[in-house]
Symmetry: C2
Subunit: 376 residues, 2 copies
């Protein structure tokens, strides 16, 4: 078996080019992880997800515990086998979804009690239970159970929330069952307050994790405020472990975050946008539903090698969305994930070639020039 380990291959300024070895295969970083909430990357065959270049995908503890149930997934051989994804899987701990999706939650030191958004059942989730569920799912990377501090929060709210999350992080670490090639990540909180971020990083480092996430960002604070935190937060974490920015983001969010020392990303943006007709293209996005695409014989993106771009016209994709055809969601999801994977490959190459600062500068200037989403 392969031990769970992170190798920092090279750095370029704060940007890092690394490799994470796991029981389910290696991951070249910086990496973007497509989201497979309930055991499927929506509208994609597992083979197609692989074909985009995705190395690792996300699963959601909250969704899978409710349906089909973690014990059910375990009885069927774990999440890898269940969904036919033999590669690495990272599962979030459920903390974020309890906050964003469930109703009537009650948070105590012990954990969270909430009502299922599916059937209203009362459910109790604790650090120990979250670890048990992620173990049953056979997650390659388990996330510590935390409270995602809402934004905005007062200093006191952010401090109280962060400190409870740090106690939950220790309980998560204690409950995590170590297995060769599997890892557990702690999650830094502290909102936009530097001393709280420092306190959180110190607490997590004392406990010791296989990787560290920066949590509590991309929750409405905006890119500028996020980058302000990322100007110092990654540097508070151990150099020799991977750093994961949860729930981020747009291509420019990712490029700017890599510039500040982040290694791992996940976001529903490429998949969710794909299902509504928003496509990522160089320099911005376009909405394929717009009438201007009705007769356009050009591909979505003539630099892209995905089936939507090599096989079809914008006019055809427009037609599929107008006719509400499933194939429209399939093709745009594929394109968007491929777009993100090509971006990550470009990022990795730029770091390897020690030209990442210029790459990021050019990229952000180009994206900014096209904000908001434009029609090419």
């Amino acid at each position: 078996m392969t031990p769970f380990s992170f190798t920092l291959k090279t750095t370029d300024g704060k940007a890092r080019r690394g490799r994470l070895d796991t029981a389910h295969g290696p991951i070249e970083t910086p990496v973007f992880m497509p989201v497979g909430t309930v055991g499927t990357v929506k509208a994609m065959m597992p083979d197609s997800v692989r074909a985009t270049g995705a190395q690792i995908i996300l699963g959601n503890t909250y969704h899978l515990m409710l349906r089909p149930g973690a014990g059910q997934v375990a009885a069927l051989g774990g999440l890898h086998k269940f969904m036919d994804w033999p590669g690495p899987i990272l599962t979030d701990s459920g903390g974020f979804q309890v906050m964003s999706l469930s109703k009537l939650r009650k948070i105590t030191e012990e954990g969270v009690t909430f009502q299922s958004h599916l059937d209203g059942d009362t459910i109790h989730l604790t650090p120990e239970r979250s670890m048990e569920i992620q173990h049953l799912l056979d997650s390659t990377i388990t996330m510590a159970f935390d409270e995602c501090t809402p934004f905005p929060a007062t200093y006191e709210q952010a401090a109280d929330s962060m400190r409870m999350s740090m106690r939950w992080a220790q309980r998560s670490r204690d409950a995590f069952v170590a297995r060769e090639g599997y890892g557990i990540f702690g999650i830094m909180q502290g909102s936009v307050f530097r001393d709280l971020r420092e306190e959180s990083a110190a607490a997590l480092t004392r406990t010791g994790f296989n990787g560290y996430a920066v949590g509590g960002l991309a929750v409405g604070e905006g890119q500028e405020a996020m980058f302000e935190v990322l100007d110092y937060a990654p540097g508070l974490l151990p150099q020799d472990k991977p750093r994961y920015l949860m729930g981020v983001g747009t291509p420019s969010d990712i490029v700017g975050s890599v510039l500040r020392g982040i290694d791992m990303f996940d976001c529903v943006m490429p998949t969710r946008s794909g299902r509504t007709g928003q496509a990522f293209i160089p320099g911005g996005t376009l909405n394929i539903n717009n009438a201007c695409h009705k007769a356009d014989p050009r591909p979505l993106d003539d630099t892209c090698d995905c089936p939507a771009c090599t096989r079809h016209s914008r006019a055809y994709l427009h037609h599929l969305f107008k006719a509400r055809e499933i194939l429209g969601c399939m093709l745009l999801t594929w394109h968007n994930i491929r777009h993100y994977q090509r971006l990550m490959a470009d990022i990795r190459q730029a770091i390897e070639e020690n030209r990442y600062t210029n790459f990021a500068h050019d990229f952000l200037a180009r994206e900014t020039a096209h904000e908001p989403a434009t029609e090419a």
Copy 2:
């Protein structure tokens, strides 16, 4: 270029093993054609349709004339290029959909006036206009414009309707632009009345087509009544041309119709059923939504080589449908089309080996024993 031609390779009783050569490739018969109503076989990538063994697909004149419009498809290079299906495409003439989908129709000798089911626009469709549209779509096999006689119909209604369809068939033939490798099929009507079927067949044969469809069946008359017509109707048509039974059907419908001399079939059943969770399996069907599949680690059909069966459990497919995930539709559609294509390959082989009567007898006995749809 290849001429449009039909070769009858061998017969076994009334069952026929043939080959149809077209401008867009050969078709081994008996053949089942998946339906791609508005320029996509729903929930399938074109490559996946090919991977099922499908040789030819259907397009719908009615749907495509309304959206995106035949001129639009022509401007984008024709339906083959538009939807990335370089193989043969058969388009129906629009007659059937005008009857089943549109409102406020008025039928005259000239043609049909109806309101679009999409936006209520008033549209006029004639044999000449249907030919023009199918030409613009670049259809490999054009269908004559006809009135699909409703069932039940009195003898007089059936006779009047059939005779108008025969006049429309002649106008369709006259308006069809002959091109190397392209063909036009006439459609026999006459409901369940033998002398009307004879009169219709004689009229069509006098006009002369590249193939002949048996129309007006599978419209509610039931399998027994359909087989009664098929006991004599195919024999009224030229031996040296392909015979196409429109809109049929279940596996047992197909097996019994091949036994009676039919060469070509199309039906929305495998695709539509796939999207609602009904899967075709040996001996019948199963509904993957049923709770009995929740924890079942077995494949849908352990004799099938499609991704749904080789990669996933019934429990996973059940989960996808419960969670209303698009991948559920994708996998079950793929399975059902593959199931139909495997059936057609088995049928062709049985005819080649001169054992089709036994094959059909065994198949129908097995299917009947399992009717209605059962849970394996």
